[in-house]
């Protein structure tokens, strides 16, 4: 599995799309740091971009990577190598190369800026960690979708729908629900519902870390109280962990049954 991982990683690390992704984050972060001297504000601006863009790019990469390496995968399937090793190795190579682009693209400018001297180091670390977790989650979901659908157009469509759902539609439905049932106390319900969407969960974790949850009113206080505790933190990371495990287990399940 490690061999497949290494080759998928080195294949992707040389793709011009990876450079593009890395370059985008590098320039964007440099630009933000150049424009604002408040690292806290830069982290919030970056958060908004990372929470939308990282899942989108991870989804696109996941789909393209699977479909592009389809025929080569056939050659690898004919080797003495189990399907689990092959597909999980490919997925991890993909997720790690995306994480590396993000880590370097956002990390280098901050390193030059002197983040290690700054008090914001932990906020920054939480932002990067969430970005990496989102890369794993969304590239895995896309890989799973691609594995299930031989029809590339359908695969692309479904993957984009999946991203749209978590990034936009989910919040819309959530808000509608909150309005509908506004007569009821919804703090704990909304807490539960937020745990089910990795993007929302990441956003809340970062906001809480940045200590601006006061902006979220009473709900924010409930969130802070809950997620500030050991149980809250464990539950949120458990939930993000579940979101990585879900596609990984399904990639394996589909791969074991599929005809190539």
């Amino acid at each position: 599995m490690f061999k497949i991982l290494r080759y998928s990683f080195s294949d992707l690390m040389r793709s011009r799309w990876t450079y593009f992704y890395f370059g985008f984050f590098l320039l964007f972060t440099l630009g933000l740091l150049f424009l604002s001297s408040d690292v806290g504000k830069v982290i919030i601006s970056l958060m908004n971009v990372i929470l939308i863009l990282v899942p989108l790019i991870a989804t696109m990469f996941g789909i393209m990577f699977y479909y592009n390496s389809r025929e080569f995968t056939e050659l690898l399937l004919a080797q003495p190598l189990s399907r689990t090793q092959l597909f999980i190795g490919q997925y991890l190579g993909l997720a790690l190369s995306l994480s590396a682009s993000l880590l370097l693209g956002v990390g280098l400018p901050f390193l030059v800026y002197g983040i290690f001297m700054s008090a914001e180091i932990w906020n920054f670390a939480v932002l990067l960690l969430n970005g990496i977790l989102l890369s794993f989650i969304f590239s895995g979901m896309a890989f799973w979708i691609a594995l299930r659908h031989e029809n590339r157009i359908k695969g692309f469509g479904l993957a984009i729908m999946m991203w749209l759902f978590f990034a936009v539609i989910y919040d819309g439905i959530f808000l509608l629900g909150l309005m509908w049932f506004s007569d009821y106390p919804l703090e704990y319900v909304s807490l539960g519902v937020s745990l089910l969407n990795p993007i929302d969960l990441s956003r809340i974790l970062i906001l809480l870390k940045l200590d601006i949850s006061a902006l979220m009113g009473y709900t924010g206080a409930v969130f802070e109280k809950f997620l500030g505790t050991g149980l809250g933190i464990s539950l949120s990371f458990l939930s993000l962990g579940f979101w990585i495990l879900l596609p990984t287990a399904n990639i394996r399940r589909v791969a074991l049954k599929k005809d190539f």
Binding site: D11, L12, E71, L75, L76, L77, A78, Q79, L81, F260
Partner: protein, 262 residues
């Protein structure tokens, strides 16, 4: 070495393999798997490699069932029909990748020489022409000294020199006592190389035997016409299902004695 027992495979509504019983036991023999497009050749080959999972039936390699196994594939050199590689790797790196996976025992140098791949070793695969990719593909399939070689359309895109060298190489491998399964649409290749023909039609074995037997059966001088004979006969039978067939159904008549229906 390879036993296929009552193999069934369906893709959606399409029944691709309908109860295939075949065994390839003799070493030092080249078997050509022939049949029109969509007759199930590639599906049959991919089932042996475990890439297609049959609904019913069993496949054994060296006497052991292959279902859920992967180690047995180190006995098989496989050439897939379409050659596509990761675009950003070089030829050298892809060879190393396969060596890494399969372990020691690879000897790619003779093939690099045979197919003139030396100038391309450090080039990225997306910069190569279709024919050169096929040569890389062949190198990957043949560089291990595997006792079984399964080649799906080996001559696709090859230039005449590479083709002659490939044919010579395959003859040598046969001499060494390997089992070779080849699918192709190029009849001249079959005439030159194959010791026996397995003709698939609509997922069933329609004929198995020596090329000479097939020619004699249809009273044709060349194999191309004999094979066309099978197909026209099949069409006639399709049209004439009501009436008595013009020729006695040759299926039972010309099945090779080695072929047994279980």
């Amino acid at each position: 070495m390879i036993d296929l027992i009552n193999l069934h495979k369906r893709f959606g509504k399409l029944q691709v393999l309908q109860g295939i019983n075949l065994e390839f036991r003799e070493r030092g023999k080249i078997s050509a798997i022939l049949g029109p497009n969509g007759s199930g050749k590639t599906t049959l080959i991919k089932s042996i490699l475990g890439m297609v999972l049959p609904e019913k039936g069993e496949i054994r390699v060296d006497g052991r069932p292959v279902k859920g196994q992967s180690a047995y594939r180190s006995q098989i050199g496989y050439l897939p029909q379409i050659a596509q590689f990761p675009n950003n790797l070089t030829v050298k790196e892809v060879i190393h990748l396969i060596r890494d996976i399969r372990g020691p025992g690879a000897n790619e140098q003779p093939f690099i020489g045979l197919f003139g791949l030396q100038p391309y070793l450090d080039k990225r695969l997306n910069a190569l022409s279709g024919g050169t990719k096929q040569k890389v593909n062949l190198t990957l399939a043949l560089m291990y000294d595997s006792p079984i070689l399964i080649l799906d359309e080996p001559t696709a895109g090859l230039d005449p020199i590479a083709l002659i060298r490939l044919k010579d190489f395959l003859r040598q491998e046969k001499q060494k006592g390997k089992l070779l399964l080849i699918t192709t649409h190029i009849i001249s290749l079959v005439e030159e190389l194959a010791d026996e023909i397995v003709f698939l039609l609509e997922g069933k074995i329609y004929f198995r035997g020596a090329p000479e037997t097939l020619k004699n059966q249809y009273k044709e001088k060349d194999l191309e016409h004999a094979i066309a004979g099978i197909l026209t006969h099949q069409q006639k039978n399709d049209h004439n299902e009501q009436g008595p067939p013009e020729i006695t159904p040759f299926k039972s008549k010309i099945l090779h004695p080695a072929f047994s229906c279980k």
